[in-house]
Each structure stands twice: as C-alpha cells, then as structure tokens.
Symmetry: C2
C-alpha cells in the first residue's frame, strides 16, 4: 500500500466564487499543494527532481465531486502515489470535511519530463521508491472524452500570475478558462459532479488561447465539453458533468 | 488600544508568482481573510453586518513591503481596527515571518455602505464597539496619487471567479489587472516597496475595463502609475514604488 499523507487546509474566501464555495481550479491547486508537501516530506521535492534534470508534468485529472466545501471550513486533504508503470505515475487525492465525509476524490496521472529535451522519460526507481507505490505493468487508460460538439469560443491571454514557481502555466488555469465561459446563471444554479480534464500541451507567457465550449447533446445528463486551443494546437480538453 | 488579532497562514505555491514569492494581490486577499476572521470572532461577521442592511467597502490600502514571503513559509497575519471617525474606519495589518521580522505593513480605510441605497452611512456604535477602536474626530487623509503620466492600456473582462462571496469584484483583482500590465522582465527583476491603491467604483460581472499604466517621470525612484477605467469612469488608481 502506498504511503498516505494528509494535511489540513482552511478554505479562504478568495478560494471561493460568488456562491461561497471552493472553485474547481482551487480544488486542483489545494490538492497539488498537498502532493508537493508529501514530496518535500519524503525528500523528493521539486528541488531534488530538478537536480536530476527532470520535472513532473500532470497529464490528466479525474474528479468526483460530492460537495464543494465552503469558505471558512477546515478540510483534510489526503494523497497517495498509488501505482506506477514505466512511464506513468497514478496519484489519488481525497478531500474530507470536518465530519469525515468525502467531498472530492481525484485520480491524477503524472509523467516525468526531461527538462532539456522536453521529452517524457521512464520513472527512475530512486524517485518513486519512498512513496511505496505499487508497480504495475499495464497502462491505466483514463476515461475517454465525449465527442466534441459545436459550440462557442472565448479568447484569453496567459497572464503573469498564471505562471507558477515551476515556470509553467499552473494547470488549474486551464480549468479556470473553461469554467469561465459558462453562463453566470448556469454556474450559480448547477453543481459539478464529475470533471475529466486532460492536458496535452504547455502554454507560454502572453500566448493567446481560445477556450471553446458546448454541451454534449442527446444524453440525459448535462455535460459540458471544453477545449483550449493555441492556434491549431489542442492544449487541454475536459468534460464536466453538472446537476 | 484597539484589539489585535493574529492568525497563522502557510503560503501556498498557487499564491506565488514565477519568482516563488507571494503576489501583491494575494497579500491583500490574505490580510482581508484575517480581518474577516477577527470580525467573526467578535460576532461582527458579514452575516451580522448584512443583517443591518450594511456592507463594508474598502476605499484605500497603503502597503509598505520589506520582503514578500515565499511559498512554504508560515507567516503570522495581525490586524487591528485602529481608529474611526463618523464615516471612516482605519485598520492596520502586519505580516511577520517565522523569525518575527516584519514583511509587510498595511493601513486600510473602510466605509460602511447601505446595501439598498448603495450610499455611505455613518458607523453605528454597536458595529465598531467590540474592536475597541479609538474614536478620532479628524479625517486621516491617505497619501495622494502622483500626477498621471501618459502610458499604455490593456483591456480585461470581469470573470466569474473575480466575483467573491460578497457579490462584488474582489478588491485584489484590481491590483492583479494593474501589475499584469508591466513587463515580464521588469516584474522578475524588481521588488515592490510601497503600494498605494484607492478604489473609487465597484465593477460588475462581464464588464470590460481598461488597465492604464505608465512610469512617473523625472524622479529618482521607479514608480508605476495605474488606473482602472470602465468607459469614462475611473474605478481604481494606484502608485507602486519598485526597486
């Protein structure tokens, strides 16, 4: 069993939207902060990874949302680097409220990138060892994206504060650009229940992106479909189920 | 002496920019979170204020920055509602690092607004009493803005996540739109030392704003001048000193 790591977090008002509940991008930020804390605690922080000429890249998050915590709540954020194979590391996250009820569960896929060649590399044993992840041989295939619908699009520019200390656009920003396209009335009257987001290409400072969106037709559920394009290049894609 | 209130805060990676240091807008968010905590602790939280048909509005922040804390640091955020007169409440904030050294000091001006008429009202004694603020008769005049310089401008749209639980654009966003206009190279090679920001008019969801900026000429210091306009209306103005 992979080592679990838990830390408490107080939900700040500025992590919440107009409904007073945690935003989806902030859920990602908070859980990633916890995975970084675990890595630091196991002497595998970004300083160590960078010293090997490597960096972690997140390729997918699959989130199940039971309830988005409110401003002022103290939540427990737990993570474990569950399994890995030659190229992919799978990490789970859970957010629980003060009563121990699960609010959010996330499965994420990480890969290691060579910082010089910008190419994926196989996972060195010394990097993964302290997490006590289970080695698996097969690939865990993430849930597939639903077919794209015709929809609308809105332009965004990568801002200075979108770039984090790893010199990349913070992954949570993609989700920000996706959700922001939906209607104010829709967002204040619907709750996200499942989010499946895949990251395909990194973005650079001052790049212009197009956030395209639409609703998946002819199904009983309300599912929005999102794609982030830089020119002709698909950079990220997501499906979000709402109720 | 006004009651002091302190809470600890761990600086999260997503509160920092590419340099790994806390952003100026996040400094404002963090201190405001602490003033809300104090108000809750004194049974004068937003629920109580709203029940009187009132809401707090911030009109000015004057910040002195010695050092912006880094991701992972635990800081102590202290506040006291120092003084007040008929219409204005003056609140101080201090951020100290783990060694007790002052990183940031802020003096802020708050007014109470009638939520129906959207007009400023005089401060009821029952609202201010528990803070043990000193009543003063004179007006504390904030530092004046330096004369505007000709400069450039960049458009921004008020996004869904710019609106906070108080149904207003979070004040910190104005500072975000201001700082974002400056050059990447400038921002990664300069430190802010003094920030004087004044808020003149609230903004609404989906409004387009123009963030105008320039540098104050013919002085030894490097001071940037910023204005946020919605059409012809000046909504916020700031001077930021850099070194």
């Amino acid at each position: 069993m992979a080592k679990k790591f838990t830390e408490k977090h107080e939900v700040m008002f500025y992590e919440c939207d107009v409904t007073g509940k945690l935003t989806l991008p902030m859920v990602l930020n908070i859980v990633i902060n916890t995975s970084e804390s675990q890595s630091e605690a196991l002497a595998r922080g970004s300083h160590y990874i960078n010293s090997l000429g490597l960096g972690w890249v997140i390729t997918q998050h699959e989130m199940r949302v039971s309830r988005l915590p409110k401003a002022g709540e103290t939540i427990a954020v737990t993570t474990a680097a569950t399994t890995y194979n030659k190229y992919f590391c799978y990490r789970d996250f859970w957010i629980h409220d003060a009563e121990g009820k699960e609010c959010v569960a996330i499965t994420s896929t990480f890969v290691l990138m060579d910082l010089t060649t910008r190419k994926m590399v196989s996972v060195p044993f010394e990097v993964i060892e302290p997490y006590e992840s289970e080695k698996i041989t097969k690939l865990q295939r993430g849930t597939k994206m639903l077919p794209k619908t015709t929809g609308e699009s809105r332009p965004y520019r990568v801002r200075f504060n979108d770039i984090d200390g790893n010199q990349h656009v913070n992954n949570a920003r993609y989700l920000d650009w996706m959700v922001d396209c939906l209607d104010y009335d829709f967002l204040t009257s619907h709750q996200p229940t499942v989010v499946n987001i895949r990251f395909d290409k990194e973005l650079n400072y001052s790049e212009m992106i197009d956030s395209q969106w639409g609703f998946v037709p002819e199904i009983a559920e309300t599912i929005s479909h999102h794609q982030i394009y830089s020119g002709e290049t698909l950079c990220a894609e997501a499906n979000i189920s709402w109720q």
